[in-house]
Subunit: 370 residues, 2 copies
């Protein structure tokens, strides 16, 4: 769903634009009427979550209840999906990294819908064959991130067409007006795209449909919250529990802005040609001074440095490593070029191993059976 | 699709209203821009079709081409569906009787979609479980009409959810404007109902999707023509052949008007309780005079007699029997009461045997495999 929504809302939300201006998450929190993560009651519990400690979670809906449910041993699940417009890039990893952390910590089942239909009705791909090919690649990539096959169910809409039945079930509680208002659709919109938000709601409610009512968490970028609201609005009418949400920060693209495949040179893909990785990496924006002398004298700006963000979000094993680099940078003891080289090596090593994992993944173990 | 469309258009088309006023088929032919069947080029061929001889076919689209394709040994198919709001009634038999006649005569594959989704999004049924139950009954009833399992593929949307993939494929060539204009949908419409016409187009084009481009015939009541137009409008954009249509007359209800389950006492169902058949039958409207004396003197009006219509459309083995009864009636030699008794017996015998057949049908032989 990402792609549809960003398309419609991009002007309104404009997360951290290409010049590097910082996104106003506070404003978004107010606009979407969600809870800032700082107000969470179960502070102690969330402070154990690395993703939170890194400041990557900004707000939530009912995450308190989700933590309570875990504590009291109740059934819970997580849903996090992706559209099939092409290979995953590192910007897609965020939500899945969070899913992985929660799955490992609490043994939570994770459901991963891959929407080739969305990519097709948004005209991001030429035909359904391309959508299926992309979806099959993405399924392997997601699985290769390290999910537990016993606790993970990936489903591709073109294969798991039963999702249509659940969408039809839910559809009678919506009106075109609601969908049009949320997504900005007009009468020129094609009926597949118009129907798609209902499929999205079905994705979110599928675990409850299959395994009985329970609380489902949906980790998403904050601009995706309206999809969750759409599912929450009707959940109780069908005897489901309203799903909870965690809103996470966008990962920046190599040249600033949100990492996006639609902007040339913004995304680093998980299936990237290893021979091109170095050149892409060396192009990453930093928060460095104009000259080495100035950098040595005044230090860099790690909070504006995308190299630092990538190292921190994608590679640092713990927060101490991140803080140490931040300190050294502020003191002018690291140069951007050196950090870029480190980043290059990390990306290369990671991608080499990851692409090998993708090749060897037994995807059948992860697929939701019809 | 029948139910949606009738709902929206009923006021406009008003086929043969409850008082027995005759429907203006000529007006409908003009309104829908279809070809009167009399203008058909292949007159000789169609004159072999009993359904035509009985005056039950009123107009067509490209039926010439369909007959030509048969003649030259080309691949052809027929699609004729039903929504799953309840058991079939005799009003539903017409299109299938025509399919059967064509299947027997020319060995044509017949595809029969059963749309439980339509019944649900139109709120004709309470839930999808009811839809599936109805659909499974209808599937058996259709099969029991005498279709050849080797040449017949029945599919229930809730089971054959792959239909969603084809609908998604087609959806990008439609706009909401088109769907709204044809079906009279508003922004209060639920998105499932809004999407349904695309599923309907997918039903019509499925044989071509599965078996390559060829001419498909869709026999329908003329008020259903817009669905066919919807499929014809986009067929060539996907490399399919524009489907052809035959428009057939409605069967009247027991008390006049179109036979319809939504009007109390109008429909005789194929799963009717045998103990109730006689009472229902004896209620059928006739074209008789007010007294026996007048009937003997002036004769009846078989063209306005629903008993005669049922005997003729549902039971007469050949046209001679029909013509003979018509003649005797006009001459005042048959009384309505006697004819009703004959009809009762025929209905009872038919339903008893038919319901037995339904019980014993091996539906698996008829189902389209995923």
């Amino acid at each position: 769903m990402k792609e549809i929504f960003i398309q419609e809302k991009e002007k309104r939300i404009s997360p951290f634009d290409v010049d590097g201006e910082e996104i106003d998450y506070e404003k978004l929190i107010k606009e979407f009427g969600v809870e800032p993560i700082e107000n969470l009651k179960n502070k102690k519990e969330i402070e154990n979550i690395d993703f939170y400690k890194r400041g990557r979670i900004i707000s939530h809906r009912d995450f308190d209840k989700f933590l309570d449910a875990i504590k009291s041993g109740k059934k819970v699940s997580i849903v996090s999906g992706l559209n099939a417009s092409g290979s995953m890039h590192f910007g897609h990893r965020g939500a899945f990294d969070l899913c992985l952390e929660l799955q490992k910590k609490y043994k939570i089942p994770v459901f991963i819908p891959i929407s080739d239909d969305e990519a097709y009705v948004c005209k991001k791909i030429k035909n359904q064959e391309e959508g299926l090919k992309n979806a099959e690649l993405i399924a392997k990539q997601v699985a290769a991130l390290g999910f537990d096959p016993k606790l993970t169910k990936i489903f591709i809409h073109q294969k798991y067409t039963k999702i249509y039945n659940l969408a039809i079930k839910l559809s009678t509680k919506y009106t075109l007006s609601t969908i049009k208002a949320i997504y900005g659709f007009k009468d020129e919109t094609n009926p597949g795209l118009m129907f798609y938000p209902v499929i999205q709601a079905a994705d979110i409610l599928l675990p409850q449909e299959l395994y009985g009512p329970h609380l489902t968490l949906v980790p998403v970028a904050i601009d995706q919250d309206p999809h969750i609201r759409l599912a929450r609005d009707i959940a109780e009418k069908f005897g489901y529990v309203k799903p909870a949400a965690l809103h996470i920060k966008f990962l920046h693209g190599l040249r600033g802005g949100k990492m996006s495949k639609s902007r040339e040179g913004s995304a680093l893909f998980l299936n990237e040609d290893l021979l091109k990785v170095k050149k892409l990496c060396m192009n990453t924006l930093t928060g460095g001074q104009e000259t080495i002398e100035l950098q040595r004298k005044f230090g860099g700006k790690p909070n504006l440095c995308i190299v630092h963000e990538y190292l921190s979000c994608l590679f640092d094993d713990n927060l101490e490593i991140t803080k140490e680099r931040e300190k050294l940078c502020l003191e002018g003891k690291i140069l951007c070029g050196d950090d870029k080289k480190v980043l290059c090596e990390k990306f290369l090593k990671y991608l080499k191993e990851f692409q090998e994992k993708v090749k060897n993944i037994k995807i059948e173990e992860f697929l939701l059976k019809e």
